[in-house]
Every structure is written in structure tokens, then in C-alpha cells.
């Protein structure tokens, strides 16, 4: 059995790295959620379902069209993003002026429908998706064996997260986006099509979820249930980071991955709960979240 002092530092290092890998999923997913929340004021409860959908699109592309992993990395976000755009145009759009609660309830309903349909179609035990040949294998880092695929996951998600942050916080497009969050009427007056920008943002946010889904497909089973357990954890990540804060959700995503990884060593039974303990503590101490601005 492991004890606090009984762990060689090398093993601990390995666990921390693993935590970071899981954190990269949290970061990707919470980033999408937070972008959507920031601009649309919608708490997107169907994020988990769309993440699952991304994995399924990858699987279907391989089964029916022979399109492999690399193609899926592009196709899945596009397909799911398009689906998201349809959702936004037909349903979410009507809720912007209402309380947050309604957006949450609507997307919760959508999540139930999407998951139910996939479960009906593909069963519940999940489908296999193999790691692409170029990323199989593992390298020995001395303190642990790191599968190449995991290294790729961490690299790609870091890149995507930072690129998103850069675009939103440092470019002109991002400036419009942020301005539209604060005062849509004014931005509209500048001749920018705000509704279209909102639609595309939603499509982008859920596209990120789909991308995470494709990344997850070779590691986990492609299963209709894969998103439903993840969603409330990611939700907690967003709130801890501060709702609407881009950097907050990225940093918190990785950070919580690390903390969860440590819990898995010292008190594994609690590893699914620790995030909620932190959530409660953070909300008590800093209601606006770690990186959120006080409103």
C-alpha cells in the first residue's frame, strides 16, 4: 500500500504527469464552456453530449468512410460545430434575454436527447477506436513510461488552448467578441453582425468539445455514456476558474487534473469527489472564482 512518505519522488512525478494529461481534457472542455458562457450567457449543459458526439463522428468516419484519425480531427469539430450552429439558430437564440436557468435546462434536455439517441443506435458498452499507427508506442522517461499518444494529447490541447486565448485576448477579432459581450448594440452599430458572431462562437465552443472527443476516442471507449459523467466535473472546473475567464478555465483545467492525480495516489476513493470539495472551498473564499472578475 502507498503511504504519504512511502512514495518515491519518481513515481509521484509520473502521477503528476498523468494528472496533467487528464487536465488537458478538462481544459479543452472547460475552455469551450467558458467561451460560450462569456459571449452567449448560456450554461451549455449539453457540452458532454457533444464531446461524446465528436468521438462518435470519428468512429463513424472510420467505419463508413474509411477516414482515419487525422481526418477526424478536422471533420468531427466541423460536423459537431455545424450541429451546434443549428441548435443555436433554432433554439438557444430565443433564450438570451431570459435567466441563465433556462439555457441550462434547455441544454440539459438536449443532452438527454442526444445521449438517448446514440444509446439506442449504438448500445451502451462502447466501441473500440485504435490509436493511429504514427502515435503508437511509448517512450521511457526514466520515471515512467509515457505513451506517445498521451504526449500528443497534452501538446495539442495546450496549443489549442493557448491559441484560443491569444485570438480572444490579443487580436482584433477577439476584441470585437469581447466588446459584443459587454455591449452588443454598440458593436452592432459599428456594422458588425453580432448575431452571426454569436452563432459562430457557439459553433466554435462545441467544436472544441468535439475535438476533445476525438482526442479521447483512442484512450477511452467511444461510448454514449462517456460525456454524462464528465460534464459536471468540467462544470465545476469552469466555476472554480471563474465563469467567462478564458485563462482561468485553462489554468484551472490543468491544475485540477494535477490535484485529481494526487488524490488518486493518496485517497483514490475520493478522486471523483475532490473537485467538488475544492469547488465549495473556492466559492466560499472567492465567489467569483479563482480568475473571475467581481461583477
Amino acid at each position: 500500500m502507498f503511504e504519504l512518505l512511502g512514495i518515491p519522488p519518481q513515481a509521484l512525478f509520473g502521477q503528476l504527469l498523468i494528472g496533467l494529461i487528464n487536465g488537458s481534457f478538462y481544459a479543452l472542455l472547460s475552455l469551450g464552456l467558458t467561451v460560450i458562457f462569456g459571449l452567449l450567457n448560456i450554461i451549455n449543459f449539453c457540452h458532454g453530449a457533444l464531446y461524446m458526439m465528436g468521438a462518435f463522428v470519428a468512429w463513424l468516419a472510420l467505419q463508413h468512410f474509411g477516414l482515419g484519425y487525422w481526418a477526424a480531427l478536422f471533420i468531427a469539430p466541423v460536423v459537431v460545430g455545424a450541429f451546434g450552429i443549428v441548435l443555436e439558430r433554432t433554439m438557444l437564440r430565443r433564450l438570451y434575454k431570459l435567466d441563465h436557468l433556462y439555457g441550462l435546462l434547455l441544454t440539459f434536455g438536449i443532452a438527454l436527447i442526444v445521449e438517448g439517441v446514440f444509446r439506442n443506435e449504438f448500445g451502451a458498452s462502447g466501441l473500440p477506436y485504435v490509436i493511429p499507427d504514427s502515435l503508437t508506442g511509448a517512450r521511457n522517461l526514466g520515471f515512467m513510461v509515457l505513451p506517445n499518444y498521451r504526449a500528443w494529447v497534452i501538446a495539442l490541447s495546450l496549443f489549442v488552448c493557448l491559441a484560443t486565448w491569444y485570438v480572444i485576448e490579443r487580436t482584433k477579432l477577439g476584441a470585437y467578441l469581447r466588446a459584443a459581450t459587454e455591449n452588443p448594440t454598440l458593436v452592432q452599430a459599428f456594422g458588425i453582425n453580432v448575431p452571426r458572431m454569436i452563432t459562430l462562437t457557439y459553433g466554435f465552443g462545441v467544436g472544441l468539445a468535439a475535438l476533445a472527443g476525438v482526442l479521447a476516442a483512442p484512450i477511452y471507449q467511444v461510448s454514449p455514456l462517456m460525456g454524462s459523467n464528465l460534464i459536471i466535473v468540467v462544470f465545476a472546473v469552469v466555476v472554480i476558474g471563474g465563469m467567462g475567464s478564458i485563462m482561468g478555465s485553462i489554468v484551472t483545467g490543468f491544475l485540477l487534473g494535477l490535484i485529481e492525480g494526487l488524490t488518486k495516489v493518496f485517497y483514490p476513493e475520493a478522486s471523483a469527489t475532490v473537485i467538488f470539495v475544492i469547488l465549495a472551498l473556492v466559492l466560499l473564499w472567492r465567489p467569483q472564482g479563482l480568475f473571475g472578475r467581481r461583477s
Binding site: 473500440p128 515512467m144 498521451r150 484512450i219 471507449q221 455514456l225 459523467n229 495516489v265 471523483a272
Partner: protein, 405 residues
């Protein structure tokens, strides 16, 4: 109106004067398949179990024997209270005589209590808990296909015997996982093996790499997976990714179904060793059953749970045919225990006083991809565990029905 009533009367008379002179409460034998139709266990039981029950009724030739059999089914959603409400309602209102299948031990334990209270019959195929024939056993319940003890015993014994004498457990942190772990640990220790450690993960974890690294660090020869469903599948998948098997350690799945292997794919699952009660490709009758089954079930081949439902329903109907009365559940189960079982899927067997159905169990190894010749050709037989050794000795289960000698 008058003619209608007399018609009805005539029908009742005709039934009463039927060939068997049987006493069916309300005229029909009603079988309720209570299972998981929407979640974790859908593929390994679910609609397939309903199908298996229907085949059993057809093959038995119930209609030709003058027995009117009807099958109803419901989804317990893996919620004990939903399951128990349905069970109560079936017994009280819908005149269901027997409930079958019921994966998920929590729901099965609840249904056992209700069946006892209403004096009906409960034939368990899907649930695993050995408590069903142990401390919680009932004179109205028969546990058909497998249980945690049989799995732990079969797999644990075989692996220790072939040199896998140091173990590390990856256990789902709930009662079922604990029981599976404890049962296996006993077997390992009894055979002078060692348990080097264990880690308990929350139910439905998605990432197992951290737990697997801990298992790897323990240097145990065998990593025992005391979990089920998606948890098992994900642990096996990620163990392959981290090169655990390549590094010389072996995985022992304690509860694996053929649908799990199908979902993993042979490339990942190859070499896995586990215990099951039935395999579709074992002989011609099984193959014929599988062909008929999969044709009606989206190509999914039958699991041991499906076969168990078929076998249990067949024996139930046979016992009713002899007994000619289905009103007293306890008497029906007594009759079932008194008659040796014999059906085309499980062959000959018996039911013990504690409600445990006894038959051979099999130790399987998952084939390498190149060994698989056709779809669903996944297992090779490693050993047959004879019926006498396959299940927990009757005096070790603390079942109140068994008189201590």
C-alpha cells in the same frame, strides 16, 4: 351483450377443460423480464434477455401443451426503487408469475425481498452477487448463471496454479467490487499466493492510468480487475497503452462478458483470462442458438446471461408442466430444485437447496487477432471447472435455508 358474456364463459370453460387440467392463476403464465434496457448492462442482458425468454417459450412448445405463456418486460434503469416498484406492480396488478434476469445486484436484492413477500418466483441470470444464495437467500429465488464467488474462484485458482502468485487489485469502490476482490483474495491466499496491494477507484472512472501505474509499481505478476462493464473495458484498454502486459504483468478480468471483448477488439483484449458459464461457439446447439439469436438482435451474439435466461425459463416451464399449478411460488421453486435441469444450452445440472444452480464453468482465454476465423470468434477454452468445484460449497454461504448439520 348476452352472447358476448356467454362466449366468455365458454372460453373459460374450454380453458378449464383443457388438456392439462392445469391451475394457472388467471389463465396465463406470465413471465416478466426485468432488465436494464437503457444503460450499462443493455448489451449483455437488455432486449437480448427478452429475446432469449421468448425463444425458450417457443422451443418448449408451450402453446402446443396448452400452456398460455405471455412475456412482459421493463427497464429498471439500474435504480433499485424503480425496479422494486415495477416488481410489486407486476405481482400485484399485472399477475406476473415469475421475474427473470435482472442485472445489477442492488435491484436483484430488492426484487428477491418482494418475491419472497408475494410468494412468486425470481430467476436471476444477470446479477452477480453471491449474497443471493448466501445470507440473503430466499426459498423463492434461483440464481442461475454465475456469481462473484464462481468467477473469483475459477479465475483466481487457474491463474495462481499457472504461476501467477502475486496479485494487485484494481477494485471498483462499491459493494460488488469489494466482494469480488475479497472472494478472489481468499482464493489467492488459500493457494499460497500473495496480495501485494490494492487500489479502489470510484465507479465509472474514465481514466485508469494513475491506478495502473500504481499497480505497475507494485511489481505484482497479476493485476486483478475487480470491476465491471465500462470500468473493466477502460482499464484493459489503458493497460495496453501503458505497456503493462508488454512489461511482463498480466491482467485478470474478474467479470468480463463477450460483449466487452467485442467492444475492446481482439487487438487489445488478446490474452485476457476469465471465467464464464457459457460460450456460443462451444458446440453445434450453441452455435445454432447464437445464429438465431444474433439474427434477431442487431448481430449481437448471446452472452452467458442470455443463455442463462433461456435455460432458466425452460426449466421453469418444465416444472410447471409437471406441477400443473403456478400459484404457490415456493412450491414451484421446490419442484425446480427437486428436478434435475436439462436443456439444450446448459445441459444437465441441478439446483441446490440454497437456490444456486450448479453446472460446469469454463476458463477462457481471448484469442489473438490472427486466431479469430469469423465474427465473434473470440475465446479459446483453457479449462473446464467441473460443477462440483465451480460454486461456493453450500455450507460456506450462511444461507438460512440450509440446515447446519
Amino acid at each position: 351483450m348476452k352472447t358476448l358474456r356467454s362466449l366468455g364463459l365458454a372460453a373459460i370453460l374450454a380453458l378449464a377443460a383443457g388438456p392439462a387440467h392445469a391451475q394457472w392463476s388467471d389463465g396465463t403464465i406470465k413471465i416478466g423480464v426485468l432488465t436494464d434496457m437503457s444503460s450499462l448492462y443493455t448489451d449483455l442482458s437488455g432486449a437480448g434477455s427478452v429475446l432469449a425468454a421468448r425463444f425458450a417459450v417457443e422451443d418448449f412448445g408451450a402453446a402446443a401443451k396448452g400452456m398460455k405463456v405471455e412475456i412482459v418486460n421493463a427497464d429498471h434503469q439500474n435504480k433499485a426503487d424503480v425496479g422494486s416498484t415495477i416488481a410489486r406492480q407486476w405481482y400485484d396488478v399485472d399477475k406476473v408469475d415469475v421475474i427473470v434476469d435482472t442485472p445489477n445486484s442492488g435491484v436483484a436484492l430488492a426484487v428477491t425481498e418482494i418475491t419472497r413477500e408475494k410468494n412468486k418466483v425470481f430467476l436471476v441470470s444477470g446479477a452477480a452477487s453471491s449474497a443471493l444464495t448466501g445470507a440473503k437467500c430466499s426459498a423463492n429465488t434461483v440464481h442461475w448463471t454465475y456469481d462473484t464467488w464462481a468467477l473469483a474462484n475459477g479465475t483466481g485458482r487457474a491463474i495462481v496454479r499457472t504461476g501467477g502468485d502475486t496479485w494487485y487489485f484494481l477494485t471498483a469502490d462499491y459493494a460488488f467490487g469489494h466482494q469480488l476482490e475479497a472472494d478472489t483474495e481468499n482464493v489467492v491466499k488459500e493457494m499460497n499466493g500473495k496480495v501485494l496491494g490494492k487500489v479502489r477507484h470510484p465507479l465509472n472512472s474514465s481514466d485508469f492510468s494513475s491506478f495502473l501505474l500504481q499497480a505497475q509499481a507494485s511489481k505484482a505478476k497479476i493485476i486483478g480487475l475487480a470491476n465491471a462493464g465500462g470500468d473493466t473495458v477502460n482499464s484493459i484498454k489503458q493497460a495496453a497503452e501503458f505497456g503493462i502486459v508488454a512489461g511482463g504483468q498480466n491482467l485478470a478480468g474478474l467479470l468480463v462478458f463477450i460483449t466487452d471483448v467485442h467492444s475492446l477488439g481482439l487487438k487489445t483484449a488478446q490474452g485476457l483470462i476469465f471465467t464464464e458459464a457459457w460460450y456460443w461457439d462451444a458446440n453445434d446447439t450453441n452455435r445454432a442458438f447464437a445464429a438465431r439469436f444474433s439474427a434477431a438482435n442487431k448481430g449481437i451474439h448471446p452472452t452467458m446471461i442470455h443463455a442463462g435466461v433461456y435455460s432458466a425459463v425452460t426449466h421453469y416451464l418444465k416444472s410447471l408442466e409437471a406441477l400443473k399449478n403456478d400459484a404457490d411460488g415456493k412450491a414451484v421453486v421446490e419442484r425446480m430444485k427437486a428436478t434435475p435441469t436439462d436443456d439444450r444450452l446448459f445441459g444437465k445440472g441441478t439446483i441446490r437447496a440454497d437456490g444456486r444452480k450448479i453446472h460446469d464453468m469454463y476458463l477462457f482465454e481471448v484469442k489473438k487477432p490472427e486466431e479469430s476465423k469469423k465474427p465473434w470468434d473470440y475465446y479459446k477454452l483453457r479449462a473446464t471447472i467441473p460443477a462440483a468445484e465451480a460454486f461456493r460449497p453450500i455450507d460456506k454461504g450462511d444461507c438460512p435455508l440450509v440446515k447446519k448439520g
